[in-house]
Amino acid sequence: MNRRTLLNLALLIFIGSFLSLSIVTPVDAQAPNEIEVTSDYDSSSNPDEFPASNNLNDCSLREAIQNANDNAATYLDCAAGAADDLIVFDASVTTITLDGRISVISEIRIDGDASTDQNYSDNVILNGSNGGVFVMNSSDGDLTLDELTIQNSDESAILQSSGVLTCNLSRFQNNTDSESGGAIDSSGATTIIDIDECVFNDNSASDDGGAIVFTGALLTISNSAFLNNEAGTDTETGDTNGGSGGALYRGGSQTGSTLTGVYFSNNIANTGADSVDNVGGGAIYNRTSDNTGIGINGMVILANSFAGNQANGSGADGGAIFNDGGNMLISYSNFGEAPLPFTIPSFLSAFITISAPNTAEGFGGAVHLAGGALTDIVGSSFFGNTAFDGGGIYVNASDRGTGIYNSTLNDNTASDSGGGIFLAGTDDEVLIVNVTISDNNAASGGGISNGGDGDSPGGGGFVGRIDYPESSDFDDAIIANTILSGNSTGNCNGASLSDGLGNVTSTDACADLTTALLGSANLGSPELTFSLASIITYTRPLQAGSAALGAGRNEICDDLPYPLFLDQRVFPRPVGDVNCDAGAYESDLVGATPTPTATATFTATDTATMTNTPTATSTPTDTPTGTPSGTATDTPTGTTSPTPSGTATDTPTGTPSGTATDTPTGTTSPTASGTATDTPTGTTSPTVTQTATASPTIDPSLSPTVTQTATASPTIDPSLSPTATQTATASPTIDPSLSPTATLTATASPTIDPSLSPTVTQTPSPTTPGSNPTPVIVIVDPFITKSVNPPFAVNGEIVTWTITITNPGTVPSNNVTTTDTMPDVVQIQSVNATAGTINFNGQVVTFTLASLAPGQTVTITIVTRVRDDAVLPFVVINTATLTSSTGSDSATATLTGVNELPATGEPLDFAVRWGGVIALGIAAFGLLWLKRKSARTV
């Protein structure tokens, strides 16, 4: 290499390196290149309708996309393409029927409606009836669909094997495929799908995934709906695969999928008459080959709603979800009937009804877990679902470990076994903690039916902080802090279940739960929870006198992988009692009996004395002594002989029975801790003297000075000696010598009332939920909640405040008024309420309603816009107040105004930033000088 060549090479290296430093393509810094579609013409063989015209009024979608793909003006009918293209439509273009799929190999966004009105009816419609709509097979082909309606495809509307597909405010309807994925068929190791506020309705596939089949890398769906989609439409004899995942089939080895705020309604998986096992999933079928942990390489389902989904056909399992070996976290979601009305998001209101049970002809009316599935179910509700076995949940995931926490299963039905839950596998290792299983129905095992082996002993281990010994049977299921109540036929049946303590069962006991507290769970009607704005679940509240109040074990409910210190409604626990309540609902009511656990500590600080006189009829254990005196005056009549006379000296035998029922009244604040052990001693001098021959007639409740005359001759015991004197045994239970300040058994503890203030201090104090402002709502009658979306906003951004007012009581609440003064940083755009009258004056929003019926909920929506001149950053805490005839309440929501995420890269110092460049500059200068010099020399 000669010097000239070397110098030129060095110079090129320098210039190239300098340019590489200087020219940085900014991220999203430039507006995309816009191409307007002006014609609804489409032909795959002749994309240009009028080749000679080159008229911008003849720009078809296919031409526009081709220009975008080529980054050039391949078709002069359309504007030239660039690296980042936005395709929009002239108002005259409303519907395009495509002549086969259009290939997308560049970064393209297609916007079918200039507005963002969440109104799907004015989207541009793309008909795919001639072989679908789009194909994505390039890693550079990222396609974003904004406000488009893609319909009537006779093959998968979108076929994706690479790239990123994004769906916003778009709709896929009535697309079908002869194999899988009527709307979207996505496969390949790197494909990504991101769906937000999209609706998939009436799509179908002969095999799997009526709407979507996804075996790609990453799937995210939020705030969307899947309605009336169907898998397995080809169910002829011989199709042994059937069709799984009426709405969504997910398979392959992936990096994770998340579904947040998604509604699945009336989707169907048909398995066919001769299909094999492990098919179904009316809404979702999930199967991945990579299981490394909950939510990882698996599926996370947050705040979803499943209603009316069906797994039809022989052996069809999982009416809503079939999880076949994948990892799954189901949290704060509702399956089945919605017993109370609630507000449907506005973008879905035209499409959706979500009150219907999920059904499976086979196993698992709502959820079916099989094939080594690792699944946790948290804070979710299952109401009214039906199946052959496992009306709510069916578990057949041996040795994998399924967790069901803080959830409610109510009124589910199995025609065979396990109305609530059916455990089918050998050693399923299911952990059921703080779950309410109530009023489910089955031919056997209305609550839980265990089809496992029930072998014992199994291995021990921890549930919460309780270490169960090796002899504990953890094989099939361990149940703790759980309510089993009112299930027919029977709360439990089948093989043995492990008793994890803290359980409550109704009088129809589960034989294996030896330490379960028997009694009435006393559950209220299903209650809608409002813990977070996007969470819609139901549970059964505890009523006064419920045996579940304070029956749980804190060692369990405060230390599990999921936040069991918050109940299903995300209310803190424990409250009211020292211990948490059993079941999914933490009540602020206090249990009827104290719970003498070692960890509970009470400290009473007042010194009030007892002023009442105990009148208890508690059980005496001593035998009264002393000599009764007095004379019986009874003279029995009739024909009985002999006629008693004289004084009876008979000492009654037997043990008086009865329960102490005395409740001290007045200002008593017992200073006692633990259990009082008062036992009446033998100091009683019963002065009751009865002369009678019939001891059963002596009334033990008589006061000590009463002389009773027995008159019931038929009861006279002829064997008694006429001179016998009988000593009453009743009076010893009343010990008049007891000091009024005496410590009493059982009667003392109920007076430990955490609500007493200020003289009583309870330790530990009720749990506080931390700094997050949203989860905790204090219930009054009626109550109000408030939220803001988005909670972080920039100038000019639309911010929606949502207020709900609910009357959970049993009587109407009248003259309901809500006032909300909006902060100055926002400008009110509109106000709306689902009932009553609402208006605004300036920044003040006023809502009035004459009467709020029991159970009724009114939702107020205030749409605001962050003022352009609002100074960022800001934090405003806005309060809405509620007044009514039955109570008042208030709720707050916090809006933070910022312009961007923090700049977590500090600007470089001058020397660091320019040092290298200066050095290269010097070198370049030298090179140029040398080059010039050598040229002169040559």
Binding site: I296, L566, E900, P907, L908, D909
Partner: protein, 216 residues
């Protein structure tokens, strides 16, 4: 033709120039390496977390909202530990500042908890931010964030007790994407740092966002 004398002189100058090129490139590459997440040398991590010594733990000097007075604040004995990203750091509060965003002027080598986002032991989104590099070009506390992978542990230790979160998403987004701050129905940690350095504006054009959900 090139004379020998000229050739010797030119050769010396040429060698100096080539050396200058290499020095220049080396300087730039060094800085770019420092600017690249994970480009710095790995530092050994403790096998177990040592308890924080609160009396001597470094405090953060920051600006309280509505004031101009620097004050020293520190969240009580809270530390972030990400084994696979070489992160062991105290967590300090970061308040909103005059820049329209959070004031990280004094964040230094700490990890900051953004005011108004969630906190430990409650459902919500705990948003933590850290520098990818310092102004002198040395790696920031989150320089290794790009090494993190799905399923990796993210550990928050408060008062000696650990909460473990598992990485569930890793993505890059624009600085204007505020959705990463939104509350979540389950307890989640969101880690934010910068990416895509722009030499011209001397700033970063993108943000790396890692989320991790609570598992124990």
């Amino acid at each position: 033709m090139i004379g020998r004398g000229n050739q010797n002189t030119s050769g010396a100058i040429f060698r100096v120039i080539i050396l200058g090129i290499f020095v220049g490139f080396g300087f730039i590459l060094f800085n770019r390496n420092a600017n690249t997440p994970g480009g710095g040398e790995n530092t050994p991590l403790p096998s177990t977390l040592e308890p924080l010594s609160s009396p001597t733990a470094p405090a953060l000097t920051t600006i309280m909202p509505g004031t101009d007075t620097p004050v020293a604040l520190q969240l009580g004995n809270v530390r972030l530990y990400i084994p696979n990203a070489n992160v062991v750091s105290n967590i300090v509060p970061v308040f909103l500042g005059e820049t329209g965003s959070w004031n990280i002027q004094f964040l230094g080598g700490n990890v900051g908890h953004l005011q108004g986002t969630g906190w430990i032991d409650a459902p919500g989104n705990i948003v933590l931010a850290g520098h990818i590099e310092q102004s002198d070009g040395t790696p920031g506390i989150f320089a290794g964030l790009s090494q993190i992978a799905f399923g990796d542990d993210v550990i928050l230790e408060i008062e000696g007790e650990r909460r473990v979160y598992t990485v569930s998403t890793i993505r890059e987004t624009s600085p204007q994407d505020l959705s990463v701050l939104y509350p979540t129905p389950v307890e989640q940690v969101t880690l934010i740092t910068c990416d895509q350095y722009d030499f011209i504006s001397n700033s970063y054009l993108a943000r790396v966002v890692v989320t991790a959900v609570r598992v124990s």
